[in-house]
């Protein structure tokens, strides 16, 4: 039901954006006969409502239509780019958590200490540095000067695991640093909050060892907000990271969506946005389920 609502909005928004895909396909050279022929072929000469009903009817059955530009089905275009997107999203989240959890916890344990200050500066840096800049610098250093890694591209894991990993490292680091910086601040504040709560004071008063208090009483409670923010970040990453994909020639959904916007390729754009909506719905569901696993009070 949510998706049906989303699809109405998606369709209207996509068609409301100024710009005519047929005119764009022709470029600046205008020729009325060719224009009319192209428009008819794309079905754009029909009333908008009729276009929507036709598209919606097919979308329900899983047929998202055919790209104006490539003449291929939207589903095959999305399917081809899905593995690269999923790979990068999960690798980036892994990098992000590897940065955020230790860094956020450490700085919460010693607020206002040198460690905390360094962590704050680092995460501020990670959030504010433009990702294209970081990406180009990493390419110039690791692919150019040092020559350790390829400059970009994507090879499926099944084809060559070594090549897959070598090409994944840099984009995962750039994306992971950005996400990790956001998550670090959440970890810090939620650990701080848990540290100050009554049950932690009680546990400490009982004389439990510090490590045990941290693991079972602090971190476990700090996990809830972490799961939420990680879920949001993951959903965002799964919608494609346009800039990083372009700089590293990573064939993900972000590039596809950008190309579709630029060409006003309505079917592809609609399909991609619908997919992103679906991803958010599913991840929200998973996050909710994780809540119940983590926090017994929610189960009841």
């Amino acid at each position: 039901m949510v998706l049906a609502g989303v699809s109405v909005i998606v369709f209207s928004l996509v068609h409301l954006v100024p710009g005519d895909p047929v005119r764009l396909a022709l470029g600046t050279r205008f020729d009325q006969d060719t224009y009319d022929a192209l428009q008819a072929r794309a079905g754009l000469d029909q009333p908008l409502v009729q276009q929507f009903l036709g598209w919606f009817g097919r979308a329900v059955t899983g047929d998202l239509g055919v790209s104006f530009r490539s003449g291929e089905t939207v589903t095959s275009q999305i399917a081809e780019r899905l593995p690269a997107t999923i790979t990068l999203a999960f690798a980036a989240i892994l990098v992000a958590l590897l940065i955020a959890v230790p860094l956020g916890t450490l700085s919460a344990l010693r607020p206002r200490s040198a460690v905390d200050r360094v962590a704050t500066v680092l995460s501020q840096f990670g959030i504010s540095v433009p990702d294209f800049w970081m990406a180009i610098v990493l390419i110039l250093v690791f692919a150019g000067t040092l020559g350790w890694l390829p400059s970009g591209g994507y090879v499926p894991l099944t084809e060559d695991p070594g090549a897959w990993l070598a090409r994944l490292v840099l984009p995962a680091v750039v994306t992971g640093v950005v996400s990790g910086s956001v998550i670090t601040r959440f970890v810090r504040s939620s650990v701080l909050e848990a540290l100050g709560s009554d049950h932690v004071r009680t546990a400490q008063a009982k004389g439990l060892p510090g490590r045990q208090v941290l693991t079972w009483h602090v971190l476990r409670n700090a996990l809830l907000p972490l799961v939420t923010v990680t879920g949001v970040q993951l959903a965002y990453l799964l919608s494609g990271v346009v800039v990083v994909e372009i700089v590293f020639s990573w064939p993900g959904l972000g590039q596809l969506a950008l190309q579709a916007v630029q060409a006003r390729d309505y079917p592809v754009l609609q399909g991609a946005i619908l997919l992103f909506a679906l991803v958010f719905l599913v991840i929200n569901l998973v996050v909710d389920l994780l809540y119940t696993a983590i926090d017994p009070r929610i189960r009841r």
Binding site: G19, R23, L24, A25, R29, A37, S151, V155, I246, Q259
Partner: protein, 506 residues
């Protein structure tokens, strides 16, 4: 002439081709390092592979190597020379062109090439009103009296017919029935030096066609890898991941020239970039105002800023090496005279001029900023409007602009570009220019069959167009390409066609 294509970044998806079962592929474990394969870094993914449908440059970078046309531009001076046609004759009245076709040419599927394929291909473009049907505007009929002969019957003499059917692979010859039997968006059966093997969101792979009529190519295959970011493409070339690229950061051209890490070459292209003012919006309908603006623009400074010097300032359309180049440059930057002209036109300064540019072609944004600075000195306040290309085209089509910047790519014959852009009510005369003398000259040039006489006619027309500032021509950017030292047999071309037929790896 090709239209401005929505160049980079526009591309689409996955085209896994059914690999025709030759069984000759050797497992190289991925990575594209195996065999004698040239890896070329290009800026964007082809949108599709139907030569008659696509208008995207990234597609033609690939298709140039897969398909053939009846005639092709010579790489040196871009005059037309034989390809699938070995010769042609024109009737006395100029209305009948008879082409003799090459023998012993086979398509990639093994079938013989003959006149029926030419008739089929041309009829497809005409009947389905595909993107290039305008090139057949004067063609009444295409017939095949015998398998080696094709006759084009025209409604009026068309001296640039060869340019129309041969300037690029949009006029490719397909095997008869190809569109019905194949999915041409993802499959290709041509007569060219390479076959289309596969294509996905990372690269397009071609394999050498051993039975090519011009002899087997010098490499076993070509992989076009899409690397959008110029810094990444250059790095990939320098560390040996790719052996060729046309995606060079302009600011690095100078430092790479003459170095030994890469072989870099440039040549002025037959593309031109221009500023155009709206004749329907006063005071830009006033010739003096347009001339004042033309006098205030320092083209060399604009070219330097937009291309870091990799562009040649020009007051007419196409560069010096071209046959139809007009040696005419009446406007030397002169602010005093420009101010006088504005005063003479009775224009109150500051005068505000909206200048519409698109981030699709970032060089226009840079150029606009420089021009704004230059015009400010004569009291013209330029308001730069940066739009995405779709909105830009909308506004151009509606005539909703004071002025805009854009370019035309691949200009080979003036009958195409002058006529459409400067004739009264011409299809691409968005500025609204109308000069009866220019119209008369353009009509005469379109039917004059003597090349020298034609050139004189177009030189006269060009002078009027420049004097009236129908277009304020700015510059011709250089074609800039680089490859691995030791790579041989590649020739850089002013029309930006990329042909790997004779390339050999170091």
């Amino acid at each position: 002439m090709r239209r401005i294509r929505s160049l980079p970044l526009i591309a689409t998806g996955p085209l896994i081709l059914a690999a025709c079962g030759g069984g000759e592929s050797i497992d190289t474990g991925g990575g594209g390092g195996g065999g004698d394969v040239l890896v070329a870094a290009v800026a964007a993914q082809p949108d599709q592979f139907d030569p008659h449908v696509t208008t995207a440059y990234p597609s033609f970078q690939v298709l140039e190597n897969v398909y053939d046309t009846l005639v092709v531009p010579n790489p040196e001076d871009l005059t037309m020379e034989p390809s699938l046609a070995t010769g042609w004759e024109t009737s006395e009245d100029g209305l009948t062109w008879t082409f003799t076709l090459r023998e012993d040419v086979t398509f990639h599927d093994g079938s013989e090439f003959d006149s029926a394929d030419v008739v089929y291909s041309y009829d497809r473009i005409i009947d389905e009103e595909l993107a290039n049907s305008f090139r057949f505007a004067t063609v009444a009929d295409v017939t095949a009296p015998d398998p080696q002969t094709v006759v084009l019957t025209l409604t009026q003499p068309t001296p640039n017919l060869l340019e129309r059917i041969g300037s690029f692979k949009g006029m490719a010859i397909l095997p008869e029935g190809a569109a019905e039997e194949l999915d041409l968006t993802t499959e290709a059966v041509g007569t060219g030096p390479f076959t289309l093997e596969s294509s996905d969101a990372s690269s397009t792979v071609l394999t050498a066609y051993e039975d090519y009529w011009g002899g087997a190519p010098g490499v076993d295959g070509v992989e076009f890898r899409y690397i959008t970011e110029p810094a990444a493409a250059l790095t990939a070339l320098q560390n040996g991941e790719v052996q060729w690229t046309d995606n060079i950061p302009p600011q690095q051209i100078e430092s790479l020239t003459g170095g030994d890490t890469v072989e870099l070459q440039t040549t002025p292209s037959v593309d031109y970039w221009y500023l155009s003012m709206n004749y329907a919006r006063p005071p830009f309908d006033n010739r003096d105002v347009r001339r004042a603006i033309s006098l205030a623009v320092d083209r060399a400074a604009v070219a330097e800023a937009a291309w870091f010097g990799a562009a040649q300032p020009n007051q007419t359309a196409i560069p010096e090496d071209s046959f139809f180049h007009s040696d005419y440059a009446p406007f030397q930057p002169d602010l005093e005279q420009a101010r006088q002209l504005l005063a003479q036109a009775g224009v109150q300064t500051p005068l505000t001029m909206g200048l519409m540019v698109t981030d699709e072609f970032p060089e226009t944004v840079t150029a606009a900023q420089v021009i704004a600075g230059q015009l400010e000195q004569i009291g013209v306040q330029v308001e730069i409007e940066t739009l995405d290309f779709a909105s830009w085209l909308d506004r151009q089509g509606q005539g909703d602009f004071d002025a805009f910047l854009l370019g035309w790519l691949g200009n080979l014959d003036p009958a195409a570009y002058y006529q459409e852009q400067h004739q009264t009510d011409g299809p691409n005369n968005y500025q609204g220019y109308s000069n009866p003398e220019v119209d008369r000259l353009l009509q005469a040039g379109a039917t004059e069959t003597d090349q020298e006489a034609r050139k004189q006619i177009y030189d006269q027309a060009a002078q009027l167009i420049v004097d009236d500032v129908s277009y304020l021509y700015l510059y011709n950017p250089d074609v800039v390409q680089a490859w691995a030292p030791g790579l041989s047999g590649y020739q850089i071309r002013a029309d930006k066609a990329i042909n790997f037929e004779t390339v050999e790896l170091p």
